[in-house]
């Protein structure tokens, strides 16, 4: 079917153009609003994809799987841009950012959006790889944007580890090509998803296995699976909070999406080793490891970064288990986690601005000094801890129950990790949200809308999932096998 | 018609226990005195005391509460009801099914509960001593009693006193180890419950050793009279309990004629006399023990009861 304009190209072009424009424009208010508008337009375009999809082209592809991702990405991108407008304003006042850097920041933000959308829409393994590398580079630059010793430090770490990951991922991509070539012949076809999926059963299993190992490690670095996670906490804690939100909420998903695509190939090939065990193992390792790491955190953003690792672990575990229920749960968990975690970072950003620090020890009694922020944070943590009636409870319910009947011990480890994590989170939450107020108690000039929008969505999803969404999820779950 | 007779008998029983109770107390005192080569007070001395106390006015501590004044009537009522439900000379009393043995014990328990509260009401240290020791004793005596009830109930297949008495009177019982154990335990509990030597000494007012007397230290006049009456009722109750369970012979069955009733009554009085005599004998032949030896004494009772029950549980299985 033909639309007034091709939504797919729109999703790519709008951010690209916006990036160019924003790079040129001075003045924070204008750019900020423009940023928001561009993000909004992208989101609209993405939503329109639900109603009409172009046929998959040579390079671009929209199907159930990435459609969900795209909409999620653009939506969080939009809300984050709203949040960042108010956040960055404060940063300007405190002089942590100069207008020049701000211009750069907005441009980069759109480039990042572009890169992620491209990675999602790409119908070609190579293009996807390039896009993810681009996304990495942009985030590296934005993490380092404060130019403080620590920020550069974190950026550098991220950069080095990211590059290695990228390299490994490329090697995996090449291997997939080589596995595909004898079957589908040379040239672009051997890198095109639509083609690969149809012929995957005939590929050389040994090559596929090898490829998957490299892809798992390569993209796994982006996903932040232990032990490849090292860059993640620092990058989250040192960059501007909007970027932390985007990193946790989106970039991890994009990398995970790449992994899922390749997992589908292996799943389709009977002779290849099942990717499940690998993903399950790494998922559990990440979960338990991150859960324990939560205890000794003193920097609030770094703590929530580790909680992201924890949840990515759960998601990977779910996809590794496979099966309609687990995959559904994984997708749901991924969506809910993106929304919740970005909401938490919205709250944390303002909290850090109010308190003028990220040290947990220096904040306390928030529900008293800044009730809205405080309760927002409490709600977010409750959600991320997987307590009802919020969405993550449903996904965790599905994961655990569906797993326990199949692999009891795995489920027990899973439950153990979750419990450890919850205990750690609430241990910190108690000091942050309750007790005697500590630290600066200024009133926050904050935009609460994005945070509560996300939380409202998570809340709604925990109680009622619209059938449309369910159908998409179930289709995708079936695709993932 | 039968109902009316039953009702009369029930009433008679209530009056009987009420009237006999001080007599029993007096009898025990007398025998003790005699055993101690003393003259001892006349048998009717307890009645005189009661009347005297009734006549005197009550001297109430300034900060005594309404509860303090209500409690004597409460505990008297509870104990009286309990006592009037124990078959003394005739089984199948009209209201015997309104409370089985467990309920009777619980009634005594509530009496103790309130008495202990009374000990705390005025806020004197001696009252505290009395109450705290009393509840400590009770916390061991009651489980022991329950265990005894278990034993008997399992043998007789009922917790109804009348049924028990009836069953035990029949020859179906035979001699049982657990019965012996239960009897022993019951005697120990009875001694503890009635604050007799070696647990407590009803005659003492030596502050640091007294339990029951310490609780009622602040009472006077009619209140004290009621409490004393209650105490002797309780003693009577336990003696007749032991009597009707372990020597159930001579109890008149329901619908017995007057003569049977009369002979049963005589038998009952005889049992009381024997029981009182044995009690006095025991009390004179043993020394009071330190308060903190009491738990061991009662613990032994509890263990005996549990052992008896266990034996039954196991033997039932065989």
């Amino acid at each position: 079917m033909n639309l007034p304009f091709d939504a797919v190209t729109a999703v790519l072009v709008i951010p690209a153009l916006a990036a160019a424009v924003l790079a040129a424009l001075p003045g924070y208010r204008v750019t900020a609003t423009l940023n928001v508008i561009a993000a909004l337009l992208t989101f609209v375009a993405a939503v329109s994809l639900f109603f009409g999809r172009p046929q998959p082209g040579r390079y671009l592809l929209v199907d159930d799987l990435n459609n969900v991702f795209i909409v999620l990405t653009t939506f969080v991108g939009f809300t984050t841009s709203v949040f960042s407008a108010s956040y960055i304003g404060h940063e300007l006042e405190t002089g942590r950012l100069t207008p020049t850097f701000l211009r750069f920041y907005h441009a980069m933000y759109q480039v990042l959006m572009f890169a992620m959308n491209l990675a999602l829409i790409a119908n070609n393994t190579g293009v996807m790889w390039v896009a993810i590398e681009l996304a990495t580079l942009t985030t590296v630059l934005m993490v380092g944007i404060y130019r403080t010793h620590e920020a550069l430090e974190a950026a550098w770490k991220y950069f080095i580890l990211g590059s290695v990951g990228i390299a490994l991922a490329l090697f995996g991509t090449i291997l997939v090509y080589m596995a595909a070539r004898p079957v589908v012949g040379e040239g672009l076809d051997a890198m095109t998803w639509t083609v690969l999926v149809t012929r995957a059963d005939a590929f050389d299993p040994a090559l596929l296995d090898l490829a998957f190992v490299f892809l798992l490690l390569g993209y796994g670095t982006k996903v932040g699976l232990a032990p490849l996670h090292a860059w993640l906490p620092d990058a989250h804690s040192e960059g501007p909070t909007p970027i932390s939100a985007v990193l946790s909420g989106l970039l991890l998903n994009v990398a995970l999406y790449a992994l899922l695509r390749f997992k589908m190939l292996l799943a389709l090939n009977p002779a290849a080793l099942a990717p499940g065990p690998l993903m399950v193992t790494m998922g559990l390792v990440s979960l338990v490891f991150a859960a324990f790491m939560l205890y000794r955190r003193r920097d609030i953003k770094r703590m929530f970064a580790y909680s992201s690792i924890e949840h990515v672990g759960i998601i990977t575990f779910a996809f590794g288990m496979g099966g309609a229920l687990a995959n559904f749960a994984g997708l749901l968990h991924m969506t809910m986690h993106s929304l919740t975690k970005s909401a938490i970072f919205f709250a944390v950003g303002h909290i850090a601005q109010v308190k003028g620090t990220q040290r947990i020890a220096d904040m306390g009694g928030l529900t008293e000094t800044n009730p809205v922020l405080g309760w927002g944070l409490v709600l977010g943590v409750v959600a991320i801890a997987g307590l009802p009636p919020l969405g993550i409870f449903m996904s965790e319910f599905l994961v655990v129950t569906s797993t326990f009947a199949r692999a009891p011990w795995l489920a027990i480890i899973l439950v153990f990790g979750v419990l450890i994590g919850v205990a750690a989170l609430f241990l910190r939450l108690n000091t942050i949200a309750f007790g005697e107020p500590r630290g600066a108690t200024a009133k926050a000039k904050a935009s609460y809308a994005p945070m509560f929008a996300h939380l409202a969505l998570v809340f709604a999803a925990g109680i009622y999932l619209p059938p449309v969404l369910v159908d998409w999820f179930q289709n995708v779950a079936r695709l993932l096998g | 018609m039968a109902v009316i007779v039953d009702f009369i008998v029930q009433a008679a029983q209530m009056l009987l226990v009420l009237l006999l109770a001080p007599l029993l107390t007096g009898f025990v005192r007398k025998v003790r005195a005699r055993l101690l080569r003393r003259q001892g007070p006349p048998l009717i001395q307890p009645y005189r005391d009661l009347v005297r106390l009734m006549r005197k006015d009550v001297v109430l501590a300034e900060n005594a509460s309404w509860l303090f004044r209500v409690i004597p009537y409460l505990i008297f009522a509870a104990t009286w009801v309990a006592a009037s439900l124990v078959p003394t000379f005739r089984t199948g009393l009209l209201f015997s099914w309104s409370a089985d043995l467990i309920a009777i014990i619980a009634l005594l328990g509530s009496a103790r509960f309130f008495l202990a509260l009374a000990g705390l009401d005025v806020g004197t240290s001696f009252g505290g001593i009395g109450s705290s020791r009393e509840v400590m004793i009770a916390s061991l005596a009651e489980p022991a009693m329950i265990m005894i009830v278990f034993t008997l109930a399992l043998i007789a297949g009922s917790t109804q006193l009348s049924a028990m008495a009836g069953f035990l009177a029949s020859s179906a019982v035979g001699l049982r180890v657990s019965l012996a154990l239960a009897l022993l335990a019951l005697i120990m509990v009875a001694i503890a419950e009635n604050a007799r030597i070696p647990i407590d000494n009803p005659a003492t007012h030596l502050e640091l050793t007294m339990v029951h007397e310490a609780m009622v230290l602040e009472y006077s006049g009619r209140h004290l009279a009621l409490i004393d009456l209650t105490a002797s009722l309780k003693l009577l109750l336990y003696v007749s309990l032991i009597a009707c369970i372990f020597v159930p012979w001579g109890l008149a069955p329901p619908g017995a004629d007057l003569f049977a009733l009369a002979s049963a009554l005589a038998a009952y009085v005889g049992k009381l006399a024997i029981g009182g005599f044995l009690l006095a004998l025991f009390e004179t032949s043993i020394a009071k023990m330190r308060v903190f030896r009491v738990p061991e004494f009662l613990g032994a009772a509890l263990m005996l009861g549990l052992l008896a029950t266990l034996l039954l549980f196991v033997s039932r299985g065989l």
Partner: protein, 669 residues
């Protein structure tokens, strides 16, 4: 039917939302509590209706909520109806009480929104008919009550209590998650109907039983999973404490009954063994802990632990009988347990109300600082006394009835075939008797030290009687305690349909027994008539009073206390809570609490005050929880080193992972 109920639950939720707006205003507060009062009364009515119409089938409903392809199932059968009644009875009283108590609330903003949510959560749990809805409501209930526990967050202990509570709650929920994972099977038949239909292997059923016991036990407060309870219940505002102790623990019992009796199918003979053993220990440990307490609300909370033990004894016996095919005996035991559920919810709520009244009147919870309140708060002390008598299982009040039934059930157990039970049940019976006696001792202490004697502090001297709303709530429950005690037959009959569903049989109809007495099996075997005992006592007591006042003296003089001629000026010389418990501590404490008394007696001539310090240790905490916490801390510290590696070392990690995976590939068959 169930839809009505759900509608009113929705009203509760709406109230919660509205409460956020209410803020600190008094009118808002009254409106909210009024709304909850109406809602819970209506729900109570619905529950009673559902309970009394015996024959027709339970009403069900499916809402398009929760898990999409499943929907949220709700069902109102006899069991749900009974617990719905218990929940909303407590809720109604608590709301009424709160109308008055709420005036003294300092952190109203933090209480008002969560209170209706808490009620809604509890209602939903008993209505839920599929695993997801059940667990979600269950955890929601925990969550909202957690928020209420940390309402007074300036007290560090409360925050800590809330923390432990939340962690234990999550632990329990996760255990239940696993339970339902096993019940539902890999392809997720979450609806209770499907679960009932599914056949199970014995080992699977065993695992489910254990997990369910852990999951529900941690919420009900089974030793050793009780640690959160005595911390959390006192921390909350008193009307919430009443609900948590009196009602929420019952919801946990409901969970256990629902899973084990209903979903899990026919029991095996040994199922009752863990239940009974834990229950007996719980009953005695709970009351012993309580005896060592001198925080009034803490004491009450520990008594909840004890009573949960008693309830579970009933349930365990029911399991044993059911497994042995003695349905009629199972019916008796189950009735005893469920009746005690109702009774405990009555008098425990009543007692917490009283404790709350004392707290608002004096600002004190520590009994050592109270005393003599009976003069200042006569009505409160009267109803509190009734509560004490009821919970001490004294006839003719309700506590005695359920314990009496439990004893009757125990007396049936020799007919059980299995040997393990033959030895266990009498022991459990002894434990039950012991706990009952100790409970009486404990409440002599609680009432005596708090309300009797002389005031120990100025605060206690200045106490004033509490407000009419609170009194109304308390008197209502006191009356119910008496009614349930003297007319138990009706309550037993009301329970019959639920028992019939679960045990396969019911107790004989009681309401048509002569003179309204109750007869568990046969009149020849045992019977009890609370009404008659009550009338007897009134008559004989009244008779005595009348006779004496008429025929003998009724004169009365006031004088200083006699006290063997030692006039002691200071109220400090009274027996305090801990000194009252000292004899019992001597008997049990040294074994259970490693109790140590250190006496510091100054030499003659030394003007120093002598000191007696008592050291108690909570062995459960020390042996079970402290090590776990230590282990977690240790692991966290060890792993934490990984945060501080250099980039190169992180790279080496990556390489190591890569090489490892390649090796796996290389040696893959």
């Amino acid at each position: 039917m169930v839809l009505f109920a759900l509608a009113w639950v929705a009203v509760l939720i709406a109230t919660a939302a509205a409460a956020i707006m209410a803020g600190d205003s008094a009118r808002g507060r009254d409106a909210i509590y009024g709304a909850t009062l109406i809602a819970s009364l209506t729900l109570l009515a619905i529950a009673l209706l559902a309970l009394l119409r015996l024959d027709d089938a339970p009403s069900e409903a499916v809402l398009p909520l929760g898990i999409p392809w499943l929907g949220a199932h709700f069902r109102l059968d006899a069991l749900s109806a009974f617990f719905l009644a218990v929940v909303n009875l407590g809720a109604a009283a608590a709301s009424l009480y709160a109308l008055g108590y709420g005036r003294h609330e300092t952190a109203q903003r933090r209480v008002l929104p969560f209170y209706p949510a808490f009620l809604a959560g509890m209602n939903l749990v008993v209505l839920a008919d599929d695993a997801f809805t059940f667990l979600a409501s269950w955890e929601f209930m925990s969550l909202s009550s957690w928020a209420l526990v940390v309402a007074h967050h300036h007290v560090p202990d409360n925050v800590r209590a809330g923390y432990i509570y939340l962690i234990m709650a999550s632990f329990g929920t996760l255990a239940l998650l696993l339970t339902f994972g096993l019940l539902a099977g890999p392809d997720g038949g979450y609806a209770f109907a499907d679960i009932r239909a599914e056949p199970r292997s014995p080992t699977l059923a065993a695992a489910i039983l254990v997990l369910a016991l852990i999951g529900t036990g941690s919420k009900a407060g089974i030793v050793p999973l009780h640690v959160w309870l005595p911390l959390a219940h006192p921390a909350a505002p008193s009307h919430v404490s009443a609900l948590m102790s009196g009602v929420m623990t019952k919801v946990a019992v409901y969970g256990f009954v629902r899973i084990v009796f209903d979903l899990l199918g026919t029991p095996a003979w040994w199922w009752s063994i863990p239940v009974l053993a834990l229950a007996g220990v719980t009953a005695v440990m709970g009351v012993l802990y309580a005896l060592m307490q001198h925080d009034l609300k803490g004491l009450l909370a520990y008594h909840t632990v004890e009573n949960i033990g008693i309830i579970f004894i009933g349930l365990g016996l029911a399991l044993a009988f059911k497994a042995a095919g003695m349905a009629w005996a199972a019916a008796l035991a189950l009735t005893a347990g469920l009746l005690h559920v109702l009774n405990h919810s009555l008098f425990k709520s009543l007692l917490f109300f009283g404790a709350g009244a004392v707290q608002t009147a004096t600002g004190e919870r520590d009994m050592e600082h109270l005393g003599g309140l009976i003069h200042r708060m006569p009505q409160t002390s009267f109803v509190f006394l009734i509560g004490c008598a009821a919970i001490s299982a004294l006839p003719p009040l309700n506590g005695f009835v359920s314990e009496w039934l439990t004893f009757q059930a125990i007396l049936l157990s020799p007919q059980l075939p299995s040997w393990g039970l033959k030895f266990l049940v009498p022991a459990v019976g002894a434990l039950l008797a012991l706990s009952a006696a100790l409970a009486a001792a404990c409440f002599v202490k609680a009432f005596g030290v708090t309300f009797l004697g002389r005031p120990r502090t100025p605060a206690a001297e200045r106490a004033v009687e509490t407000d009419p709303f609170s009194l109304a709530a308390m008197f209502a429950f006191a009356a119910l305690c008496l009614i349930a005690g003297i007319l138990p037959g009706f309550f037993i009959d009301a329970l019959a349909p639920a028992v019939q569903d679960l045990a396969g049989d019911r107790m004989p109809v009681q309401s048509d027994v002569a003179w309204l007495s109750i007869v568990p099996i046969a009149a020849s075997r045992s019977s009890y008539n609370g009404l008659l005992v009550f009338v007897f006592m009134c008559v004989s007591g009244g008779l005595a009073a009348f006779a004496i006042h008429r025929l003998a003296s009724d004169r009365l003089r006031r004088a200083p206390p006699w006290d063997c001629g030692y006039p002691d000026a200071s109220p400090a010389t009274q027996y305090s809570a801990s000194s009252f418990a000292q004899p019992i501590r001597r008997v049990f404490g040294s074994a259970v609490f490693r109790a140590r008394e250190h006496v510091d007696m100054p030499r003659p001539g030394d003007l120093r005050a002598a000191r007696l310090t008592v050291e108690l240790r909570d062995l459960v905490w020390e042996t079970l929880y402290a090590p776990i916490a230590g282990a977690v801390a240790f692991a966290a510290d060890r792993l934490n080193h990984l945060q501080f590696l250099t980039i190169r070392q992180f790279l080496s990690l990556v390489v190591a992972a890569l090489v490892l995976l390649l090796l796996v590939l290389a040696i893959w068959p």
